[in-house]
C-alpha cells in the first residue's frame, strides 16, 4: 500500500533521512518510532508530498506522490502533531474547507463522521473555543472525510490528557477494525504504540534500524526494552 524507495533528505548539512526503504502492506497498523529529530516527521512529510526528497520516491497504492500527487493522496487522510484550523470559523466550515481540496463529500457523510468523532453538539462552534482534545478529534474527522484507505497519524496523542489518550487509542483500533484502514502512526510514546501496533519501524538519526513485528523479534521484551536494545545495539 505504502512503499518508500531509497528516500533521502538533507536539510543543509544535516542528513534528516538516509536511504530509507520500507513497505507497509494494505490493512497494516504500523508505527514509526524514533527520538526527536530521528526523521519521522520528515518521512511523513515526504509521504504526503510536503517535503521534496533529494532522492528516492514514495508510492501510495502504486502512485508516485511527487508526480501523481492527486491520485496518490486521493485516498489518504492525515493528522499532525498540532492540528491547525481556522479558529474564527466553525468546526463544520473547517471540515468543508479541507474537504473542498479532495473528492466531494455529502453532508450526510460529514454528519456521520462528526458523530464518529463525537463532535456533534459543538461542530458549529468556532474552533478557537475548542479544547486540544476536540481539535484532535476534528483533525481526525477531516482525515476520515475523504473516506481514506490510508491514515497517517503524526503524534496523535501528543498533548492529550489520559482520557483523551484512551479515546484516541480506542478510536484508532475501531477505525482499523471497522474500516480496514492502513494506519501509520508516528510517535515517541512507546507504551501507547505497544498497545496498538504489532509492526514498527525504528529510526535513529535518519536511518532505519528495524522494521517488522517487534514481538517476533524479541518475544519476551516490552516495546520499550526492544526499542532500547535496538538503538543501543547500533550505538555499540
Amino acid at each position: 500500500m505504502i512503499r518508500l524507495e531509497n528516500l533521502q533528505k538533507r536539510f543543509g548539512r544535516r542528513m534528516a533521512v538516509e536511504n530509507l526503504s520500507l513497505e507497509i502492506p494494505a490493512g497494516a497498523l504500523y508505527a514509526l518510532l524514533g527520538h526527536n529529530g530521528a526523521g519521522k516527521s520528515t518521512t511523513i512529510g515526504m509521504m504526503l508530498g510536503q517535503v521534496i526528497p533529494d532522492q528516492g520516491r514514495v508510492l501510495i497504492d502504486g502512485h508516485d506522490v511527487r508526480h501523481e500527487r492527486a491520485k496518490a493522496l486521493d485516498q489518504v487522510g492525515a493528522i499532525f502533531e498540532t492540528p491547525s484550523f481556522y479558529g474564527y470559523l466553525s468546526g463544520r466550515r473547517n471540515l468543508e474547507i479541507f474537504c473542498s481540496y479532495g473528492r466531494p463529500v455529502a453532508r450526510e457523510e460529514m454528519d456521520r463522521i462528526i458523530d464518529i468523532v463525537r463532535l456533534g453538539p459543538r461542530i458549529n462552534d468556532p474552533v478557537r473555543v475548542y479544547s486540544h482534545g476536540m481539535r484532535q478529534r476534528l483533525a481526525l474527522a477531516q482525515a476520515l472525510l475523504p473516506r481514506p484507505r490510508v491514515l497517517i497519524l503524526d503524534e496523535p496523542s501528543e498533548g492529550l490528557d489520559p482520557e483523551g489518550i484512551y479515546e484516541m487509542r480506542e478510536m484508532i483500533r475501531r477505525l482499523h477494525r471497522e474500516f480496514q484502514l492502513t494506519i501509520l502512526i508516528c510517535s515517541h510514546l512507546l507504551a501507547e504504540v505497544e498497545q496498538i501496533c504489532p509492526d514498527v519501524a525504528i529510526m535513529r538519526n535518519g536511518r532505519l534500524l528495524f522494521h517488522g513485528d517487534w514481538r517476533k523479534a524479541d518475544p519476551g521484551a516490552t516495546l520499550e526494552e526492544f526499542y532500547m536494545q535496538t538503538v543501543k545495539g547500533i550505538e555499540a
Binding site: 520528515t42 512529510g45 504526503l48 499532525f80 481540496y101
Partner: protein, 279 residues
C-alpha cells in the same frame, strides 16, 4: 471547473471572514472624511487653480473634484499598507498557522493552491480599489453635489475639466486602471508571502520596497530612469483624467505593470513549488 469554483468560494470565505480584512475599508472611510473636511477648509487652493485654466469655480468645483483629491491622496499611500498586510499574509500566515500542511495533505497541486490564493488576494485589492472610488464619490457628491468637475495634480502634470457624462466615463476607466495598478502591489506582497518568512516580514519587505521606490522616483537624480519605477507606472491611473487621454503613456505603463506582475508571480510560484513544509 466546478471544483475550482468551490475552492475559490472557500478561499474568499477564509479571507473575508477575518476581521482584519476590513481594517482597510474602515481606515479609508475615516481618512476620506478628514480629507473632505480639509478640502472644504482650503477651497481657495482650487479657486486659484481653476482660475489659471479660465474655469468658473462655482460651476466646476463639484463632488467628483473632491472625490479625485481623496482618491489621489490615499489610494496608494494608505492602500499599499492594507494590500501589503492582506496579500503579504495570504500564503505565509497559513504556513505559519500550520493550515497549509493540512491543505497539502490533500490531493491538490501546489500551483492550484497558489492560483486560488492569488485570485482571492486580487479580489481583495479590486474590492478595496472599488470601495475607495465609490466612497470618495459618494462623500464628494453628498458634500458638493454631482456636476461638471475639474481635476488637478501638478505632480502628475494633470489638469482636466469634464461634463458629468464624460467625467463619469473617465471615472470608470480610471477605476479599472486603479484596480489594475493595485494588483501589482498585491503581486509583490504575494511573492514575498510565498517565501519562507513570517507574515509580518512579508508585509514589511513589501512596504519597504514600495516606499523605497517612491522615494527614488521623487529624487531628481533618477529622472532618466523614472519610467521604470513601480510607483511611476502605478500612478498612471490618473492619466485617464487628462483632457486627451495619453494612450501611449497609459499603454506603456500597463505593459510594464503586466511584466512586473508576471515576474513577481513566477518567482513566488517557483519558490513555493520547490519548498519544503515542515512543522
Amino acid at each position: 471547473m466546478k471544483t475550482f469554483a468551490i475552492q475559490f468560494y472557500y478561499e474568499l470565505l477564509k479571507l473575508f471572514a477575518r476581521k482584519r480584512t476590513y481594517m482597510g475599508f474602515i481606515a479609508f472611510i475615516a481618512i476620506e472624511l478628514v480629507i473632505l473636511l480639509g478640502v472644504n477648509m482650503h477651497k481657495r487652493m482650487f479657486l486659484s487653480s481653476m482660475e489659471d485654466y479660465g474655469l468658473d469655480f462655482s460651476h466646476y468645483f463639484s463632488g467628483p473634484t473632491v472625490a479625485f483629491q481623496m482618491i489621489n491622496y490615499t489610494a496608494f499611500s494608505l492602500g499599499s499598507l492594507y494590500l501589503a498586510l492582506v496579500c503579504g499574509d495570504i500564503v505565509c500566515k497559513e504556513v505559519e498557522d500550520g493550515t497549509m500542511r493540512m491543505i497539502l495533505s490533500r490531493p491538490v497541486g501546489r500551483l492550484r493552491i497558489l492560483a486560488l490564493k492569488f485570485l482571492a488576494g486580487a479580489v481583495y485589492s479590486w474590492s478595496l480599489a472599488l470601495f475607495i472610488v465609490l466612497t470618495s464619490l459618494a462623500f464628494g457628491v453628498l458634500d458638493r453635489g454631482l456636476g461638471p468637475f475639474f481635476v488637478v495634480d501638478p505632480f502628475q502634470k494633470l489638469a482636466g475639466a469634464f461634463t458629468v457624462g464624460v467625467g463619469l466615463d473617465r471615472y470608470v476607466m480610471a477605476t479599472s486602471a486603479l484596480c489594475f495598478s493595485m494588483t501589482t502591489l498585491s503581486c509583490l506582497a504575494f511573492m514575498f508571502s510565498c517565501f519562507n518568512m513570517k507574515p509580518a516580514s512579508a508585509t514589511i519587505v513589501t512596504l519597504s520596497i514600495y516606499f523605497a521606490d517612491i522615494i527614488l522616483y521623487k529624487i531628481p537624480f533618477f529622472e532618466d530612469i523614472k519610467g521604470y519605477f513601480l510607483s511611476a507606472n502605478m500612478n498612471k491611473w490618473s492619466q485617464f483624467f487628462q483632457t486627451d487621454i495619453p494612450w501611449n503613456v497609459v499603454g506603456r505603463s500597463a505593459a510594464y505593470l503586466v511584466a512586473f506582475d508576471i515576474a513577481f508571480l513566477a518567482i513566488g510560484a517557483i519558490y513555493f513549488a520547490r519548498r519544503d513544509f515542515k512543522s
